[in-house]
């Protein structure tokens, strides 16, 4: 009989359902097959014109019915699709989930397509005055809903019958991990015995791409798209903007065992630490990331020598990969050179608000399948970053524990520790 309480006397949190969508496909099966064969989902942008753009590639999800309907609709569909897979796998009623919802999703704005159509539906006045006057004459709420930050979660709450006021959150690139952390914490505090945590991002619009470009954050290796994301390589030149979603059904181990659910993994610990250095760069000594990793280990009750594999944040920006290496080598010491560390983003790009959840899903599958997905495009190692990145080909390995890192713009760092088995 497994322990039902962790080293701090809190309920142990199990994962009983996993769902995922990325540019590699819908669902765990297709994603896992592609991911472990080193296939890239990065492709030329076709959703909008790429004239004048320096970056013309992405990991957009172009195959869903909402893919061309704007960020809000696509983010909803991504979240719904992943959540449906997770809730079904957990064997729970997908219309009456009965626990709280935590959604990591991108900040919303009125889409340009709507801005243009509202503006050009009238001729009087100009600029904002015209938009406001047209807006108040609208008879439908459809466009309004796309501008409300709580609307996607509200729809998901209706769809899945989650309980209470759903929380929509953003911690930039750490959002997906924060959504999981909030679910874990709610169960540990005894507020609920299950929670639905989702990270979803369908916001790869032209404006989003241009904004990241203007910050010099994106790769411009357009010629061979599948080669553009190359974490830990010497010639890495930025991340690849991408879309996707990941969903986990979290349950207290006690509740999950009591209903005979299959335990897919254990959420052992969560740690976070904010950076106060700069809006887009991390503190040169890496102390916030180091503190986040250590906090996650402490929360999990595990020592540095008890992590088998690191699912890296690994964005492929010069800054992140350097700092991530610095942080990990500080925490794990000499052992870092022989620990497998791979970046899913080498294949799926950076799914932003979804990344922490997508990568937690893949981390759990890594343990279940005893296969570590590779870091692809590792042809030109950065000599300053000596890591076992599981280069280019998957590796069979027994993995009992994973550390998954998420480091965000604005200095929000969150790390998750997962285990294959209860203690």
């Amino acid at each position: 009989m497994a322990n039902l309480r962790d080293h701090m006397g809190r309920p142990i949190v199990a994962v009983t359902g996993i769902g995922v969508v990325t540019s590699l496909g819908v669902g765990k099966k297709d994603n896992w097959a592609a991911l472990t064969s080193g296939k890239s989902g990065i492709h030329p942008i076709t959703r909008f014109s790429v004239d004048h753009l320096n970056t013309r590639i992405s990991g957009m999800v172009d195959f869903l019915p909402s893919s061309s309907k704007g960020a809000s609709h696509l983010t909803y569909e991504l979240a719904e699709t992943a959540a449906q897979e997770a809730v079904s796998e957990a064997g729970l009623d997908s219309g009456d989930f009965g626990g709280p919802l935590f959604l990591a999703s991108p900040p919303v704005e009125l889409d340009w397509a709507d801005r243009f159509s509202l503006y050009n539906s009238d001729k009087d006045e100009a600029g904002a005055e015209r938009l406001l006057r047209v807006a108040r004459g609208l008879k439908e709420l459809d466009i309004f809903e796309t501008t409300q930050f709580g609307s996607i979660a509200d729809r998901l709450a209706d769809r899945f019958g989650t309980r209470g006021l759903p929380i929509t959150l953003s911690t930039a690139c750490a959002s997906g991990a924060t959504a999981i952390q909030l679910g874990v914490e709610a169960i540990r505090r005894g507020e609920c015995d299950k929670a639905l945590s989702i990270g979803a991002d369908g916001s790869a619009t032209a404006e989003a791409l241009i904004r990241f470009s203007l910050l010099s954050a994106l790769s411009t290796h357009n010629d061979i798209p599948e080669k553009a994301s190359k974490p830990f390589s010497k010639d890495r030149d930025g991340f690849v903007l991408a879309e996707g979603s990941g969903a986990l059904v979290l349950e207290s181990l006690e509740a999950a065992l009591a209903r005979g659910a299959t335990i897919l993994g254990i959420m052992r610990g969560c740690g976070e630490k904010a950076d106060d250095f700069h809006r887009t760069r991390s503190k040169p000594d890496g102390s916030p990331a180091i503190a986040a990793v250590r906090a996650a280990l402490a929360d999990a009750g595990l020592g540095e020598d008890e992590i088998d594999y690191v699912n890296a944040h690994g964005t492929s920006t010069p800054e992140n990969d350097k700092m991530e290496h610095l942080s990990l080598s500080t925490v794990f010491g000499e052992r870092i050179g022989s620990m497998p560390i791979s970046s899913n983003k080498s294949m799926i790009g950076h799914t932003l608000s979804a990344a922490g959840a997508v990568e937690a899903a893949f981390s759990l599958m890594t343990m279940r399948e005893s296969v570590i997905p590779p870091t692809i495009n590792y042809d030109n190692p950065d000599p300053a970053i000596v890591l076992d990145v599981v280069p280019n080909k998957k590796r069979n390995a027994e993995v009992g524990t994973v550390l998954s890192n998420s480091f965000g713009f604005g200095g929000q760092n969150t790390c998750l520790v997962m285990a294959r088995e209860p203690v």
């Binding site: 004048h52 009125l110 243009f116 006021l165 959150l169």
Partner: protein
Amino acid sequence: MRKIKKPPDPQQPPMSSHDVVITGIGLVSSLGEGPDAHWQKLTQPGFQPVLDAARFAPYTIHPLPEIDWNLQIAKRGDQRQMETWQRLGTYAAGLALDDAGIKGDDELCATMDMVVAAGGGERDEAVDATILAASESRNDRDVLLNEKLTTELRPTLFLAQLSNLLAGNISIVHKVTGSSRTFMGEEGAGVSAVETATARIRSGQSTHVLVGGAFQTEHSDMLLGYELAGYLHRGRWKPVWQRQGSEGGGVVTGSGGAFLVLEQREHARNRGRKIYAELGPVISGRARRRQGELNSEIAALLKQAHLPDGELLTISAASGAHAATAAEKAVLDANPALAVRAFSTLTGHMKEAQFPFAVALAALAVDRKAGYPVFDATAERPFEGAPNSVLATAIGYHQFEGLGLIKAA
């Protein structure tokens, strides 16, 4: 009726039990800044709101007061990286930290958790207007968009727009770095932020948490966010409770922000801080309003709050939005013990900041042992005496509801 979060089971106490107290309040609105200025103005009988009916006509707004940003954001470089919304939030957060004696205390800031309720920042209106104007004569609108945005957008503006960068700026300017989370979703985000911070302290996860939000309405896009559903009141200004049947949708917005320092009672006591009030139960909900559940949901939330017997001062964050405000009024009116004050009559609706603002005003009343005079004599009744508990409500103009009970420390 939707299932509602069950109250904690008394048979199963949480990991450890810690009271939550309020030790810092940072407020900014058209009325001024800080708890004293707000208390002074709000307790003046017949105080008239600060309004600007011209700038965004036909909409009236409650504008920001004159603010010397340097007082809370010392570096010009930091100020330049933000637009008004982030400056306002960072400023209000600084006021709260100052008030709690935490600002500048490296150790306390480094271990302080933070939950910010945020929407988005300001877009570049001039660039948008140029693109829209050009769209009238061009059919290749996506090319137009790329052409203009790649050349005319200020690179750092993106950071001033990102929801989580209000929290990011608070970390950078005030060094609050224990943890940083940003909740989104209008008034509901403010409710969840306070509720989550409270739960963290009660369970022993946090000892002190900075929580709050800000809203800067003086930007056409911020008005558009309401007006796409026709929520804004038009024509002559009226108090919140008197807008039913008037032209428009009933909401008059205001710029402002509210941050609170919530603290474990032992922690506050050990460092010898003044305690404004204790934060009792905080309860949130999500009525399926299209199915007519709002009235019963508000009633259910009130029931769960275990309100004390006797007359109860109630600080309402009612927006004026016709349907939501009518529902709230009906349920509050049905409880004769509640003496209601809708503060948005005097400040305007501050979206994500509504609930933290309501909690702050409730804490002030408890601390100063006095109520507020009526803000609207036709709809609110006098409250005499010293409130021992005060109720704070936030019923979203469009979705999500919450309330909290604030008690004498």
